[in-house]
Symmetry: C2
């Protein structure tokens, strides 16, 4: 009799986004006349820009003709895309990342979830708290996290690094041993960032202890301030301690197109083994390359037209972020994020839990957000709103919030 | 100091297809005037059919307009595709598979590689020998295979089921305990199949012992004979013991488009746990859905126009298979496969190894094939040719083989 992977059975019963979906559906059935505005999930709403649509059509035509048809893609990505990324995302910022250190994939979620496979089962992971759930969940499945405590909301073998208003959302170096350190900057869900100096502390720590930083930079396109690095490789020493994940989902609206990449520098070696070779082997064995037409769309993201159009898209969403940020301030909320990230993180009114605030917002304003506690125990008392709605809906949502009896000053 | 996953270090140094590439490159440099014909790798050469090109263009246009834009896809696949698959691939053959038992993915390679994650680390795997390398390699990475013996070419903890001319390429039930049984039918690389009665033996065995059959049916579109099942669910009892993998790569030319699906019946339970729930959790955590435009292309595979065009594509490749099969017979080779599969499996001349035959074919005919020993120890003495080239090249390759001094009768 085959045995199942019992680590899967350790997950608590309810998932954040399915609980939200159930509550929203119940509300809509009870209130069929109300227009619900969703500022909960981080999915984009603007259509693909014309430069990308054009590239897709062109690549589809190539696939329809024998002379230009493309079969299996190179496992690690087409040279045309890897070289473009190396030049546009790295050389241009003074980072020396070679094209063959870049692994093209179907998205940062897959890579963030899969990367743990190349490390030993005994590795101790450290995560910011609150955080994007995939980092912990993928390690739960691999058996690295111990047991779950329903009361504290913590796994016994995970090092949690609280990021709250009290420490300015800057995680402190772990006092316990940590082998794999997940950092998401700009952060999902808090929308906060680390400066070059703050990030340097982590790079030095990892190089000293032999830990590896798993750096999720999926939101780097939203960085507006000068002292915030777009890549961890802007920090001296990062090439010997960090793997970086990037996504086309949020800078180019590719949530439904699926493209991302991961950088594993060749200098990153642990126990005498180059992690580059392990990830290449993993990628080559369990993945078959991103579709040709999608990689061509990725290339168009860096064309002159593409860059101009996507700058406008990011600006559109960041105008929403400002509407939300300013609106919440006006009501008198404590607000964070929203300046270098499409996420706005607010403190819920005193005496309420994140879920109670969720219910209140839905009841009184028909607005959907995400309870902070869903991202980790230190998210309790916070709430996430996203800037990815339409401008009109975002404005209307804020008007509704301002009129909520329970939020009136 | 983080430790790497040391299972990766157990792999033998050279990979089959990279060794082939090196040899072919060296030959081409030495013989710049010779036209090399590649019948080695299983990649298609015909362009996408017009029904699929049309569907792709239509979906790209949808993605370019706000009203029809699609963001994140449902993790497990769009309903329109899952329902089409359930109807066209299963109901139509009398198999009761529901749409929500079908998980859409970026290809059968990923799913075949990832499926082992939902099973316990102690599981013993059984594979046909020779076989598609991903089954074993993904289990090597997960630490299930013991150590590799360079002399026998075997992993110490893997159950090998020889499939050779001696047993008609029908694997025998394992005498040792086996928890996860990989079956690829029609088989890659041998091109041979199992009849309904032969497959029933395996379904009964798995149900009796509690093993799970991982059934790779990537080549089902090439089945021509009536007594060969297209799906394992045509066999009574399969829903309580089998997971089936399907691909659009070979029936629709999607090697560079990337789409596949996996069926996990809800009745498939081990140790009181429904495997459907585990795979859903794995899929939802480590994958973010196949691109919308690619899923629309998948739907077009089942349209009336799509079906007619793809029937022609399969017929084109199967004409190649016949050219190869008949040509080899004419030379006096022992030949297998090629009737219900795009792969032709031949016995190399007495006294030669698979690699020696590879070198001979390249030297004397500038034709590239794949040495059988690359697929497992029982592949030694055999050789694989594929039907995925152009008709002209395939015909020319066979003319060259017929003129080879060493093969002349």
């Amino acid at each position: 009799m085959v045995k199942v992977n019992e680590n899967y059975l350790k997950f608590p019963g309810s998932y954040l986004f399915s609980t939200i979906a159930k509550k929203v559906n119940a509300y809509m059935i009870e209130n069929p006349d109300k227009k619900v505005i969703r500022l909960g999930i981080g999915d984009v709403t603007m259509p693909l820009s014309s430069a990308i649509v054009e590239a897709l059509h062109g690549a589809v035509d190539e696939m329809g003709a024998a002379e230009t048809f493309h079969g299996y893609a190179p496992d690690l990505g087409y040279g045309f895309l890897r070289e473009t990324i190396a030049r546009e995302d790295y050389s241009s910022r003074g980072c020396q990342i070679e094209a063959d250190e870049i692994f093209v994939s179907d998205g940062a979620k897959s890579d963030c979830g899969n990367i743990q496979e190349i490390f030993d089962e005994s590795s101790i992971i450290a995560v910011c708290d609150p955080v994007y759930p995939v980092y912990v969940d993928s390690n739960v499945m691999a058996g690295r996290t111990g047991t779950y405590d329903e009361v504290t909301g913590k796994w016994s073998k995970v090092v949690y690094m609280p990021c709250t208003a009290e420490n300015g959302f800057v995680p402190e170096l772990p006092t316990e041993a940590a082998d794999l350190i997940y950092l998401c900057v700009p952060n999902n869900p808090t929308g906060t960032t680390l400066t070059r100096d703050q990030l340097k502390v982590w790079v030095d720590y990892a190089n000293e202890t032999g830990a590896v930083i798993l750096y999720d930079a999926a939101y780097e396109a939203y960085i507006a301030e000068d002292n915030i690095p777009h890549s961890i490789y802007e920090i001296e020493g990062a090439k010997t301690c960090a793997i970086e994940f990037r996504s086309f989902s949020k800078n180019a609206g590719f949530t439904g197109v699926r493209l991302g990449f991961t950088v594993v520098p060749k200098e990153l070696v642990r126990g005498g083994v180059a992690l580059h070779a392990l990830w290449a082997r993993r990628h080559g064995t369990k993945f078959n390359g991103a579709p040709y037409i999608i990689q061509k769309a990725g290339e168009a993201v860096y064309s002159e037209a593409g860059k101009a159009q996507l700058k406008e898209q990011v600006a559109y969403y960041m105008r929403n972020a400002k509407v939300i940020y300013d609106g919440l301030k006006e009501i008198g909320c404590e607000v964070y994020g929203g300046v270098n990230a499409p996420y706005i993180w607010l403190k819920v009114p005193k005496g309420m839990t994140s879920w109670e605030f969720f219910d209140l917002l839905l009841e009184e304003a028909s607005v959907v957000g995400t309870p902070g506690s869903g991202f980790g125990p230190s998210g309790e008392g916070y709430f996430r709103l996203t800037a990815f709605g339409t401008y009109e809906n975002t404005k209307e949502a804020m008007e509704r919030l301002k009129k909520m009896p329970s939020l009136r000053k």
